[in-house]
């Protein structure tokens, strides 16, 4: 495994430069109006600009000192820029991530198949990949870069997908079946394939993903819309607060400058979350992309955070690949070394993963110069040996080898071998039968070996559960996610593995429609279900699931049906996706809380400052002991501005998710971001005021 490093530094200079440029472009009111909170700040900035210009022309002294108004204007302007910068930086990072993927599929020559009506005359024309259209066909041979996403309709090839997945080992793709899909930008290592284009140019998954992280086509998710409404409500509240303050001040005979009004307003409205909201959303998509998951919509990522049930295939997710031989149990009168030799003979031609694992285990257990050792060191070639191999068939349910001396070695299912032995009148050794039962009840698969229809012993095959998978399931359980294992095994084996791996439920002897039914059943009770799949027969279930992650190696049908595509083909990816979804919501929630909690301190800074001249008693509210009304107001708006860039790292990286149960998590986040949000600005504003005191 050599994962290509895709980490981009948080403040990578190139990205920062683009982001700075973008933050000025985003000042356009047409773009700003999408973010009601920051739009009102921009309006306030323009008003301050007008005040400054008015003062320069008329030298009107009722609005405070000119320098003071210029400073307020500058700080407000910077506040807007900071918010734009946060969004632009998130976009730039997302784009950089996507570009690094897109680079792999720049203009490549494509060998397009031109078939002018006559199926016998196939002509190949080299065109740039951008000219390929839906349903066009092209040919790729050894060494070619595949110009576009498509499905193999002819041939088989080994393909290097490292450009997309970072995985260096080549994979095999062939026409028909579940592994027929190829991705643009990957390289054919051997053989020749004919591929049919499955997407219009500009509509590949990657194109969609890039559009999602770009501001222009980014649609707000339902949750983001709801939060924007709440923030707009807060903004409106503070508009009311500021507008009504004017007659209140008139009643109290206190003149309040425009600068003070606008400062109060900008401080109070939730600019922190307002400025970071879209950055948080984009960063969520970006995190998914960095996990090599392409999401078709922002909503899918959020939904992943809500998932209640996770359907996982046993093979590859919970267990390592296939069953492996773990033990040899010779019958009573058989020596272990003899049994191992028999076992090796029986499995020489068996190139199933189980067969290979038997030879591997035998190699570990055998003594030097035994038969196995000779095969291993290729002193004895399998092909050269005068052996007759008997293939496995569904009828005999056994396989094996006939030695030149006529000895028949057979290996197979318990009842198949027993039948052979019984027919030959050799009976069934008791200890072997016991062993077989024991293995079965332990969730293993027994394979019985016989020589000339006489039973010689048992091989135990076991599923190897992936290391660390139990902890991951425990973590999921704490997150409130139920895990379900899907397997073709019989219920007994399934149950054993389910218990051992720590999954909550299992579907044994699963057929594709069973998955579908299970998903429907869970959904009927209101649960959200996520699953991962690759085959065409997974497509309906992928479409039915609330979060369907298709493997990139899967069929086009599967990829179309799901709402995410995993470039790594890693079945455990679902777990990461769930955490990314949760993190996204948590970041939004905590920063909202922080932003609103900040207002308490700002009130204590600004309200006394506004009225201190006419109501000296309100000096008691100046609990921070700020120097002067001017420095109090400036400190508050400076704090308000700089907190945005200070929180950019948090917004982009996301608040850490800890599976400690909902109530505990709420307590923790309330304490850090709620109580912290009340306290931090008191300290921050006081410090800024002390600093300002050096100049004012």
């Amino acid at each position: 495994m050599s994962k290509r490093k895709r980490e981009i530094k948080l403040f990578e200079p190139a990205l920062v430069n683009t982001a700075i440029k973008q933050s000025f472009i985003k000042l356009s009111p047409r773009l700003m109006v999408k973010n009601p909170v920051m739009f009102t700040v921009e309006v306030g900035t323009f008003v301050m600009l007008a005040v400054v210009i008015w003062q320069m022309i008329t030298h009107d002294a009722t609005q405070g000192a000119l320098w003071y108004n210029i400073v307020v204007f500058a700080i407000l302007f910077v506040t807007v820029l900071f918010a734009n910068f946060a969004e632009a930086l998130a976009e730039a990072r997302g784009k950089a991530q996507a570009e690094s993927l897109r680079k792999t599929r720049e203009e490549t020559p494509a060998k397009m198949v031109v078939s002018p009506g006559d199926i016998y005359v196939k002509e190949i024309k080299v065109v740039p990949s951008s000219q390929l259209r839906l349903n066009d066909r092209f040919v790729c041979e050894t060494g070619d870069v595949i110009p576009m996403d498509g499905e193999i309709i002819e041939g088989i090839a080994t393909i290097d997908e490292s450009a997309i997945t970072g995985e260096s080992a080549p994979v095999i793709r062939e026409a028909g079946g579940d592994k027929s899909s190829v991705t643009g930008g990957t390289k054919v290592l051997s053989d020749r394939i004919v591929v049919q284009v499955t997407t219009q140019p500009g509509e590949t998954f990657l194109d969609k993903m890039i559009a999602l992280v770009e501001g222009a086509s980014r649609q707000k998710t339902p949750n983001e819309i709801a939060l924007t409404i709440l923030l707009a409500a807060f903004t409106l509240i503070f508009i009311i607060v500021c507008v009504t303050l004017k007659p209140f001040a008139d009643y109290a005979n206190t003149p309040i400058t425009i600068a003070a009004f606008i400062s109060l307003f900008v401080c109070l409205i939730p600019t922190t979350i307002g400025g970071l909201l879209s950055a948080i959303g984009i960063a969520g998509m970006d995190r998914a992309l960095r996990a090599n998951v392409i999401s078709k919509s922002g909503k899918a990522v959020e939904t992943a955070g809500d998932v209640d049930v996770l359907l996982l295939d046993k093979t590859g997710t919970i267990t390592i690949g296939n069953r492996k031989a773990t033990h040899f149990y010779p019958a009573k009168n058989v020596a272990e070394s003899e049994f191992i030799d028999l076992v090796v003979y029986s499995s020489l031609a068996d190139d199933t993963p189980e067969g290979k694992s038997i030879v591997e285990l035998a190699a570990k257990q055998s003594s030097p110069n035994s038969t196995v050792d000779q095969f291993r060191h290729q002193k004895l070639s399998v092909q050269a040996a005068p052996l007759t191999f008997i293939k496995f068939t569904a009828e005999t349910r056994s396989s094996g080898v006939d030695l030149p001396n006529g000895t028949k070695i057979r290996k197979g299912a318990f009842d198949a071998i027993r039948n052979l032995s019984m027919k030959a009148g050799n009976g069934m050794p008791l200890e072997v039968e016991d062993r077989v039962k024991k293995i079965s009840s332990d969730g293993g698969t027994p394979l019985v070996v016989s020589v000339d229809n006489e039973i010689k012993g048992v091989i135990e095959l076991q599923d190897i559960i992936k290391p660390g998978i139990q902890e991951r399931f425990a973590r999921l359980r704490k997150m409130g996610v139920k895990t379900v294992m899907v397997t073709g095994d019989n219920p007994l084996t399934a149950k054993y593995i389910a218990e051992k791996a720590g999954v909550d439920d299992f579907i044994a002897e699963a057929k594709p429609e069973d998955k579908m039914n299970y998903i429907r059943k869970e959904q009927a009770t209101g649960k959200l279900v996520a699953m991962m799949g690759d085959g065409t027969n997974d497509a309906p279930a992928l479409a039915q699931a609330d979060v369907g992650v298709a493997m990139n190696s899967g069929t086009q049908a599967a990829k179309e049906a799901g709402n995410m595509v995993d470039l790594d083909n890693d079945p455990t990816k679902l777990i990461e996706v769930v955490e990314i979804g949760k993190q996204l919501l948590i970041t939004r929630g905590t920063l909202t809380t922080f932003s609103i909690a900040n207002d308490v301190a700002k009130y204590f800074a600004i309200v006394p400052a506004l009225f201190i001249a006419s109501i000296p008693a309100l000096q008691h509210l100046n609990i921070m002991g700020l120097k002067s009304p001017e420095s109090a107001i400036l400190s508050a708006i400076i704090f308000n501005a700089i907190i945005i860039p200070m929180l950019i790292p948090l917004a982009l990286k996301g608040v850490a998710y800890k599976p400690i149960g909902a109530s505990a998590l709420l307590r923790r986040n309330l304490l850090i971001y709620g109580v912290g949000g009340v306290i931090v600005p008191f300290i921050g504003i006081k410090l800024i005021d002390m600093l300002l005191g050096l100049f004012m």
Partner: protein
Amino acid sequence: MNTELFGVIMTFLITLLIAFPLGKYIARVFKGERTITDFMNPVERFIFRVSGINPNASMDWKQFLKAMLSINMLWFVYAFFTLMFQDKLPLNPDGNPGQTPDLAFNTAISFLVNCNLQHYSGETGVTYFTQLFVLAFLQFVTAATGIAALVALFNGIKEKTTNNLGNFWNLLVKTTTRILLPICIVAAILLAFNGTPASFDGKDSIVTLQGDSVQVSRGPAAGFVAIKHLGTNGGGWFGANSAHPLENPNYFTAMLELILQTIIPIAMIFAMGFYIQRKKFAYVIFGVMTVGMLCLLIPTIATELHGNPAIAKLGASQATGAMEGKEVRFGPALSGYWSIITTIISTGSINSMHDSSMAISGLMQLLAMMINAFYGGCGVGILNYYIYIIIAVFISGLMVGRTPEFMGHKVEAREIKIASMVWLLSAILVKGGAALAAYMVAHHPDVAWAVKPSAWLNNPSYHGFSEMLYEFTSSNANNGSGFEGLGDNNIFWNVSTGIVLILARFIPIIGPIAIVGLLANKKFIPESPGTLRTDSLTFGAMTFAVIVIVNALSFFPALALGPIAEYFSLQ
């Protein structure tokens, strides 16, 4: 002083002792189980038959609101015209005149919204006929309307997915016959035996010790006083409300009236627990509300018992605490308790002049009405609290990384929009109204109204500002108590507070019912370990924090200019 505090504590404890079983009983009534009041069955059946109502017909949230709003409209028209022409109607032994259109508008709305913003005085502004058949009638049915709306909310929460919030007419009638009437009868008898008048005779005249001849108003007041508290309406029979010696003769009746106004709001919390079968949820809400109440009550009683610093500066002894505007028979502790209970519960009846309360007490009374959800009025208190819950659910749902959900239903943009509108409305009405009044005083003091803006305020400066703020806060909370000292019977106050009253009554009922209707229609999501439990202490604390922050942010500047400035200036 200890005896005074003991009286307050006992009153609250007795309230709880009655409220808990009452809550159980209310839950049984609305579940349709057997209760001791089943003898009312024929009465209810008669009402339904005469009105042509099928009490079992189901209603979705739109039908429910339509029924509620249309009957309220009818009541308004009836009340408005009856008040204007009351001088032509019987039962007017004192020969009181009809109300002016703007006063009738204000009075009709005031009682229609279960409030008692009385810009008239009971002795001269209304007749026995309008007292009984308009005001007392509205005191019953508007309390029942609030409770019916709350039960609709329970129905929406209780079922996994439903369209049916219950039948408005059935809930309205049952609330009246099974809850309000029986308790009222008992309370009225107790009051009458303690000296509250219950006769149809006109004014009596007595000769005082000084030898003056004084006219004393009377009337069938006992029943009226009972329902004014039980239904959390608060409208006084007499102008001085429960500070009047006939309306509230002694310490026992003061305790009784306090208990009466508190039992239904508290009982409804417990009733919710039994009715929707989430007792813990109800207990947490009760806990949050009680803590909130104590946060307002303790500073009030402390400052009232401590006395007025301005008087202390004069060197006068105030062993009994701040007595200005208080009745000697009640004392500052019970009066402080009353002033908080009547403001958190939107009753608005008074037993002391709030205008004379200490600055801190005034601040607490204002806050109580701004929050308006610590117990709160009959039914509507929990409806208000529900809006805070929705906002708390939304923010805390995000904080635990799940799309926010409440009672198994996802809270999405539409619900947040409605909750935000309800919340925004109260800020707009209170601050907008106070700003308008402040503007008139500051810029147009000489407009030719019955009372010129320059003459509105009995007190200058901060306290005058508090008077205006209080009037709109009280209207918005449908509370009805006044800071007094405000010249409010003129077209500006009658019309502006009338509009505030009606908006602040119906929008906060429509909002929660619409939200619960929308939520109940959604797919039910069962609880999982990842679900944020809304019956936990943590969530209770979260709701409390939302209530505090939301109100502090909305009202801090206004409060700073009124009671807070007054408090610091007095030090």
